[in-house]
Symmetry: C2
Subunit: 270 residues, 2 copies
Amino acid sequence: MVDGRLSLNQKTTDRIGVAEAVSVCADAGLGWIGLWRDPVATFGLRESADAVMASGLRVSSLCRGGFFPADNEEQFEANIADNLEALQEAVTLGTDVVVLVCGGIAGGDLDRSRRQVVEGLARIVPRASELGVRLAIEPLHPVFAADRSVVVTMAQALDIAEEHPPEVVGVVVDTFHLWWDPEIWAQIRRAGSRIFSYQVCDYLDPLPDILLGRGMMGDGVIEFRRFTEAVVAAGYEGPIEVEIFNDEIWGRDASEVVAEMIERFDRLVI
Amino acid sequence: MVDGRLSLNQKTTDRIGVAEAVSVCADAGLGWIGLWRDPVATFGLRESADAVMASGLRVSSLCRGGFFPADNEEQFEANIADNLEALQEAVTLGTDVVVLVCGGIAGGDLDRSRRQVVEGLARIVPRASELGVRLAIEPLHPVFAADRSVVVTMAQALDIAEEHPPEVVGVVVDTFHLWWDPEIWAQIRRAGSRIFSYQVCDYLDPLPDILLGRGMMGDGVIEFRRFTEAVVAAGYEGPIEVEIFNDEIWGRDASEVVAEMIERFDRLVI
C-alpha cells in the first residue's frame, strides 16, 4: 500500500511525457503527480488535465511560475503575463499550488533582481487569490543564485511571503535546496501554515553535476525523516513530492524508478 | 604602483611552488603573499619562511587549519594535533592569521560535525592566543557543506567566533562563498573587528566546475567594490587576497595571471 502522501514530480522521469508518467503513477498505486508546464504544453493542457482526471490521480503542484527578473520593462511585463498564464493552467489541471522558481540575476544587478521578485509576486497575487491558486516560493540552493533563483534561503522566502495573506503566498520546502542551512529548523517552524509544498531528493557527495546530479533518497547526505517531522510539526498535511534532477535516473525505466522511489520513501522519508 | 593591500593567495598560481610564487609576487611589486600548507611543506617550512623574508614580502595568511569533524575520537584528536601544528607553522612563516576551513560532514552526522567544529576550535584557541595567532573561520559556499565546510554562512561563523575573544577568533570574508547571502551586508557590519581576512574571486555564471570553476574578478556576477566598501566600513584595514581555484588560470603563465590580477584589482575591487 503506497503512502497516500507520496507524489511523483514528473521531473524525476524527465524523458517520458505526461501521459506515460500519469500511467506509471497510476499503475504504481500513487495518489498524486506533480506536473511541469513544458511537458504539459507538449502533450496539450486539456489533454493533460483529462489524462490525470481519467487516472484518478490528483496534481500536487504545477512547476513553475516565477523567473521574474528582467533587464527591461517589456521583458518584466512578459514575465508577469507568463505567470498569470501559469495560474490559469493550474486551475485547468486541478491543482491549487503553483511553484515559483523566482529567477536569477538579470542585467547583472542582484539587488534589482531581488526587488523584481518582490514586485512581480505582488503583481500576480490578486489573480491567484481570485482563482484560489496558492503561490509557493521555492528558495533554491545558493549554487543557483546567479542563474535560477535569487531567493536562496527559507528566511528570505518567508520575508517575501509574509507581505501577503497566508492562504495565498507560501513556500516550498525542498530538502536538496535547504539541508545545509543552520537556520532551517527554526525557519520551518516559522513557515507554519505557509508550507504549500514539500519536495524531497538527496544531495550527493561529491555532487556529480550542479543541475543534474541530485540523488534518490538514501544516496546522499540528507536526513529526510527529520525534515518530514519538521514540516509535519509545522502543520503540513499535503502531498510529498519526489523531484530528482539526475541524468542517470532519467536514463532508467520509469516504472523501475518509481518502484525504487516508493521503497526509499517508505524506508527513509516517512 | 601596486596597491599595498593586494596579496596573491598562492592557490591562484597552484601549479608553481612557493619559491616561484614568491618571486613572481616580488617581481610584480606586491607586498603580500597568502600561503598554503601543502606547498610550504613541499618546499620546506624553514625554506619557505626564508624565501618570503628574503623577498621582502609579508605572509597575509596561512591556509588552512580546520577540518575538525571526525567519525571517531582518534581521528578527532589527530585533527586537533594537526591544527596545533598549523599554528606553529604560521609563527615560523611570520603570519598571525590561520584560515580555518572547518571541514565537511563526518560519519553522516551533520549536527555532530557542527558540534565538533565548535569543540575543535575551543581546543586550539588557548594555544593560538599564546602564540599570538588569530584564527579566521571561513564560511564556505553551501555547495561545499557536505565535503569541505559545515560552516556555510557568515552568521553561523560569527555565532561560533563570538564565544571567543575578538582578538583571537574571527572570520574570513570571501566573496565567492558569501555573495549570494541576503544577510551578508548586515553580517559584515556585525563582524566588525573580527574580520581577519578578506579574499576575493568571482562567481562565474554558469559555474564551469564546482571546485575549480572560480573566476578572475570581472568575469562573473560579484559586485566587488560593494564588498570592499563593506569590509572597510566594518573596520578592516588588512591585506586583500586574490584566491582563485580555476583550472584554466592555473594553466597560464603565473606572471601573466598576476599582471591581470593587479589590473582587475585596481579597476574592480578597490
